[in-house]
């Protein structure tokens, strides 16, 4: 893509410091390290990984809900890494977030039109109530919600509808980037399909860029143009979605792909137990080493950096095609 990225992140890092009563005995936790990517209009970048991989922390850093320990974040071409909350406020309409649990993220005492319109209070404070309701109605339509429900309360909506409300709420300020943190993982399959279709639709209409955080590879394959796989706070593989799915280079990516659910009982393999222990990171060298079946001696001194090939591994898989 030729256009300038709408979101750019370089060498992002976050260390959670042991604090409070544990300061003396606690250990600092490097949650995210050296994460870099850019995102263009109309494009979807998925960040995948298991719990503790740093994917949600990355999303929160990008949103400036957490402040980074190192690295830089650009919204369009503005460096927002160290802007004050006050300076950031008017800029927040550039990038909005949709959360996993739509019920927990809606105020139960507010009518849903008020929840959806909240962002307008900040970004277009001059609008009259009538004009705000008008905008809410338009956005609800865009999200497949019946505008006649705008005076109802969150509990009167189903899970899928609530997630549509969550999306409408993010879209009302007309952002260029949407950060979606596991937006469909709390939903039933049939509802999940509706929301995924809706997201694709809106992206087509509005040219939005999506940063899609998920642990579900089937969902990701369906919606993403590019994929960044995170493990132990670092991106271990980054590339075009189809390439990553068909020819994963990092053993962890391969393990994730093999752990996908089968689609028919005929695909059952008796000994289909994925490699390694349940969990655990190496203290030094390649973080994935304790779980990796391909690990060799030299992995203990690996620096975990993402190379030019888009993978962080000394013994990458599936390379023959590119050799």
């Amino acid at each position: 893509m030729n256009s300038a990225p709408v979101l750019k992140v370089s060498n992002l890092g976050k260390v959670f410091r042991a604090g409070g009563m544990f300061r003396a005995i606690g250990k600092d936790k490097q949650a995210v390290a050296e994460v870099s990517f850019d995102l263009h209009a109309g494009e979807t970048l998925a960040i995948v990984g298991e719990s503790g991989s740093g994917k949600s922390t990355s999303a929160r850093l990008v949103m400036r809900l957490l402040s980074a320990t190192s690295g830089q974040i650009f919204w369009d071409d503005t460096d927002v890494t160290s802007l004050s909350a006050r300076a950031l406020r008017p800029m927040r309409k550039h990038i909005q977030m949709v959360f996993q649990d739509p019920f927990a993220s809606l105020n139960p005492r507010m009518k849903i039109w008020q929840s959806i319109a909240e962002g307008l209070r900040v970004h277009q404070p001059g609008l009259s109530t009538g004009a705000r309701r008008e905008r809410v109605a338009e956005t609800m339509q865009l999200c497949g919600l019946d505008e006649s429900g705008m005076d109802r309360y969150p509990h009167q909506f189903s899970g899928g509808q609530r997630q549509r409300i969550g999306i409408a709420r993010a879209l009302i300020v007309e952002p260029k980037v949407l950060v979606l943190d596991e937006p469909v993982s709390a939903l039933d399959v049939s509802v999940q399909a509706q929301i995924l279709n809706l997201l694709k639709d809106i992206q087509k209409k509005r040219g939005l860029a999506y940063l899609f955080i998920s642990h579900d590879l089937s969902v990701v394959h369906h919606i993403a143009d590019r994929i960044a796989v995170m493990f132990g706070g670092r991106v271990v593989e980054h590339g075009d979605a189809d390439d990553v799915f068909s020819l994963p280079h990092h053993p962890y990516t391969q393990a994730l792909l093999q752990a996908r659910p089968i689609t028919h009982p005929d695909e059952r393999v008796v000994s289909a137990v994925p490699m390694g222990a349940d969990e655990g990171l190496a203290e030094s060298g390649c973080a994935f080493k304790p779980r990796c079946t391909y690990a060799k001696e030299d992995c203990s001194s690996f620096d975990n950096r993402l190379g030019d090939g888009g993978y962080a591994c000394l013994h990458p898989l599936n390379l023959s095609k590119h050799a």
Binding site: S51, S218, D266
Partner: protein
Amino acid sequence: MRHTAVMLEIRDLSLSVSIHGQAVEAVSSISLKLEPGRILGLVGESGCGKSLTAQSLLRLGEYQGVRRSAGDILLDGQSIFSMQDEVLRRMRGGKVAMIFQEPMTALNPVFSIGSQLTEVIRLHLHLDKAQAKARAISLLTDVGLQDAEVLLRQYPDALSGGMRQRVLIAMAMAADPDYIIADEPTTALDVSVQKRIIALLRGLQRERGLGLMLVTHDFGLVAEMCDDVAVMYAGQIVESGTVKAIFDQPAHPYTRALMECRPEVSEAGTSLPVIPGQVPTPGHWSPGCRFAARCPLATEECHAPVAPEAWSEGQHVARCLHVSEGL
């Protein structure tokens, strides 16, 4: 393997829940049979009544106002609803055990793993402390946990989600039950951990000839584990059969729609097939086919009650008048 086959059977069971003080039917006339050595998958979306059905096998719903309005559940020929408290207590965990979805909330955070596990063992098996501890260690080893002795002294917060789920499986196995009811046992876990828990459950089930009921919304898990499948929609079983029959030739339009909307079976980047409308909630069910309002094949006659075996092919049955048109 066991010598005597103990049967667990649900017969025409209807359950009602209390909504604003009124009894509303939530499960309608369900019949299911669990057999030793087989895994039955009970599949459906949220609100279809699958968890209520599963919990009723241990009479757990009663504490939340779930009432049996008709039918029965028979364990080895005896109605579990006629059991006295003491018999019921021994049945729970002793004959039929349960594994819950949330490994985070199913363990008590202020007791050590050892005390929670030996409590179950001693309650059911009348062992002394040392024997119970030995059994606890062997159970934890069976479920693939290392350093069991150290683990016994630890508290739940020191364990990862996968380890906690293994502990809960060990707890379910503690009194050597005939049946295990697992309600979404892998939903809260990471994908790679899911596969290992699946392998563990299958292994234990085969080794001990257990009967297992797996409650899930995930057809991937069903494909992976189950021998038989029952699909629930709005409080009824709409289709049942062997796992192969259900996957090779899903008969009910609802089953077919559910299978088609999975992102893993559709081409990347395309629009996913969807089911129009929503699952009707208890109290808002039509007297005829409950799926008719959302069904592409529905006709006038679907608005009258449809028999549970309106279509059948051997053991494969579906509550639908138009199966052949959809196939």
